[in-house]
Symmetry: C2
Subunit: 233 residues, 2 copies
Amino acid sequence: MGCLYGVGVGPGDPELLTLKARRVLTEVPVIFVPKKAEENESIAESIISGLALHFESKLVRIVLPMLRNKHKLQEYRQRAADMIWQHLELGQDGAFINVGDPLFYGSFIHVVKVLQSSHPETKIEIVPGVSSINAAAARAVVPLASDDENIAVLSGDQKTETIRNALEKFDTVVFMKVNTIFDRLLGILEEMNLKDKSIYVRRCTTEAEEIVRDIGRLQGDKLDYFSLLIVRK
Amino acid sequence: MGCLYGVGVGPGDPELLTLKARRVLTEVPVIFVPKKAEENESIAESIISGLALHFESKLVRIVLPMLRNKHKLQEYRQRAADMIWQHLELGQDGAFINVGDPLFYGSFIHVVKVLQSSHPETKIEIVPGVSSINAAAARAVVPLASDDENIAVLSGDQKTETIRNALEKFDTVVFMKVNTIFDRLLGILEEMNLKDKSIYVRRCTTEAEEIVRDIGRLQGDKLDYFSLLIVRK
């Protein structure tokens, strides 16, 4: 039976792949590429294309859309798992590429869960990657945490109480996928006098990177899905 | 003036360096190596030695001990910053290597702070690295967070109330430097019925790696400084 590698390809800059990720991608006969829709480009694929290692012939594209309908979503994940299993069963190793780190908000998590429930014997190895959090902090040159400090990472559309609690209790709070809650969050940060301690980072380490320290000017804007906010007290 | 690179060298396995980290370390004329004491080996140095790129001749070792005396600590950091500045001032680029990621509990944070206060004009570039959190999750094959989940990272000797609050409110809690609080933490996890959801990981991706799922057996043990606990509800 083949081994399924979950390979983190880092935040965007192809140079932020690890040596191990590059080796595994070079060695495996199949690379599974997740994409949101047939016609979309895959961000993970665009990162490894940047390495110019001529992976093209071994790419297998897998459609994993973002849907609210959980039943439909599960169907797509099951199809992805089945497609991967076909290769593993034949003894082929395969690598599923994931932007950032596979186990940190990665689509790999869902696919592997379905795969493990149909085939508990599946061999899994994870190649961790540089997450967007570490990369965003690097680009903004802002510490995430130091010594005995605590950090919270919140994702998506959170309750105001949850946001306030994190901002009160933690030294640093990172908001992932901040696009869905930005205007509301901005209001909370203003009230808590934390607006000036906040840095917005969009698509860090890519050509579309944007770092905004005066975050008030983003009010009302339609923000990118790949954007986060670091609040460092 | 030279540029100071803060280079994350990853959690331990030399293959988890990024391509960029390896390039920068190959190109710069000086590599600053932090170590706890003159006679100690530097973990960051042992990681890059594993790459066998013959860095030896350009290493400059910097002693940064762990001290409770803040005044003494500041003296060491000032000395480190002065030593680095001597090179930058001459137009030499230098790379300060840091286990994991430089801005995530890295000693680089302190040195750069002192350097920037004496020489605000210092050019800084950070090369983010794979943090021990992502690497530990990878080795244990446990998701850190997914979808709209939240994660907290606590470090060092925290109040019981802070620990309880994090365990109640977050989907995943990671305890860094867990050696200082392990037995107390174990008691809290038992009370909250979370002991079975906890995984202890020591020196992940190195030869001394240890992953313990039955964490009760560690009670009373003297644990390693480089150990963490992932609690995934």
